[in-house]
Amino acid sequence: MDRRSLLGGGLALGAGGLLTACGGGAEPDVTNTDPGQVSGKVVHWTYPMGETQQDAWWQPLVQEFTAKYPKVEVQVVQQPWTGREQALTTAVAGKSAPDVVYFNPDFVPRFVEEDLLLSLDDALGEDRSDYVPTALSAFTYQDKLYGLPLLMTIANPAYNVKLLKELGLAQAPVSWDEIRDAAKACVARDLTFANYQASDGSLNLTYYPFLWQAGGQVLSDDLTKAAFQEEPGVRALTFLRELADLKALNNAGLTQPVGKVEQTRFARGTELMNLTLDAPMPETIMAKGSVKGSQPFKDQQQVVYGSVGGLSIFKMSKSPEAAVAWAKFVTEKTTMQKFLNAAGFLPPRTSLKDMYADNEDQSFKLQFVDQVKIGVLHPKAREIIDTVRPHLQGCLLGKTDPAATLTAAAAEVDALLAR
């Protein structure tokens, strides 16, 4: 037994030693754009976004880039959305992380705390002035920029045009009272009002918008305590619970994880609204013109959740200058416009703000860029969502009442933040 514990200890120490990173070297010169000097291999992880999920779409871009930077080899790898955090965590822990990765703002604080991301203020340089301030602040943590914004999304509600007419409503509901009436009308006709993804949906797309509309906020101003259990939060949850009790919210969404979008009731035309549609529904699933975007909901305030997507660069990249050159190439005006047209998202550059002048749906969304809330920028933002979500699910399924639910959830979040 003695020898075994020695061996165990030795192995554990050895493994621990192996794990220890070599520590950071000098910061690379990210402003170096000399094609003669920039070299290496760049692995870019991208995710399914419209047409850009085809490898073939990236080929001409890669060729254009390598024509300018002949010493750089670029590999664009498609990754699925599901389990993207786990895949990234595994890759980083296994030392096979990509060089450039598509990120959303809530990833940034967590990875910066682990000292994994390259700061990109110098790389962006004067190009800064072309970007919408919200887009830049979304990727700024502790006063440094950690991502080059590539796209913006506005997750405003959408409705089924045919069903709205059938229900005899003149326009899609905006205020909470109008939502109640629309919900009752839906239930009377054996339809559901909307899908509330209670078991695995991000709270950014489910509860938070209602919380913000009621005038509340998720965390206190200094980000150390929960604030959603106060009066606006209770008001928002009570409202959602009313809808659930009316059976206006799809039961499958309340209890189980989301399936493919084609299998949702909205896609099959038996649900009036989609609470947050941030990307256009594929035309193969719902015909063009059958879905229209509607105004963000309003209670005390009219608030909509939106996100920014951008490219971040890992510090342990073996060719950081090449990675920066590729990221800047993808986010420069002409390439970005091609990307946005193919993926169907909104531009974070003010110089591109008229690119959708002839597209009704997209220019509709662009109006709300100033009313958009990006979510909570805190390293534990996702943990907060995962902690609060089961409580909200329990409330909507009728197990606990709203005030008690939120108080219990707030206690857990306070403990989480204190750690």
Partner: protein, 301 residues
Amino acid sequence: MTTTAASGATTRRRPWWRSNAAVFAYVFVLPYVLLFAVFRIAPTLYGIGLSLADVSLSGRVKWAGLANFQRLFGDSLFWQALGVTVLYTVIAIPLCLAVALVMASLVNRPLRGISVYRVIFFVPVVTSSVMSGVIFKWLYTSDGPLNAVLTAVGLPPADWLGSTSLVLPSLAIVQAWTRFGYDMLILLAGMLAIPEEYYEAAKIDRTTAWQRFWHITLPLLRPALFFVLVLETINSFQVFDHILVMTAGGPVRASYSLTYMIYDQAFNYSEFGYGAAAGMVLLVLILLISLLQNVIVGRRR
């Protein structure tokens, strides 16, 4: 005649573990021992090391002693996960054993072609658990085939995976379906080893089939039953694939098992040390229960 050199035959005998036969044995056993060491022993030791440390995503390792365990035992989520795991085990094991016993008795007859059935019943064991999880998830949907059968018979449709009280039995059914073939074969082997004379003697005494089963088959199956019980306990405590594919720990954490918590902590929050600590607790728990089962069920006469 060549003299077989008395190489140590009469002077000094080589210890048994260095004899030729032993060396042969080492060579045969070596590949598996290597694989076992690399894929079972080494990760276990590494896990023990992880649970005593604070490991970050970027690879920084800090000694944490028992801090992870202290935090674990004070975490209500851990106790909830443990409760879910124990409850699931209590539901799944009797179900699986009962199904396996019944199927083994059914398959234990000298009909021609019976081996075809034995093979068919083993197929679920070798089916990918992710695939069976996806198929069963479809079967369990509110407008799926299972509910269609229920409504056809006049019963109300059930919310199999969406109800907090039904989700664990539904998962247990999937586990029983997956595992019964394996247990069935083990129990079958045990049954085939029971001498026919006992049954003949019992038939002469005009006993019913149930009495024969209860008084002859079950007692003599004890060693096989013990083996199956331990296997199923280990399996139930480690249930993960089906939960990941079918319920993601829900609804309202009703199927948030201990292994799911380990996965959640390690991969969603990068808390590798904490997840490993939960893993160590699971290991000790399974060990203790197996020892307990050995004392109760595995007792020799």
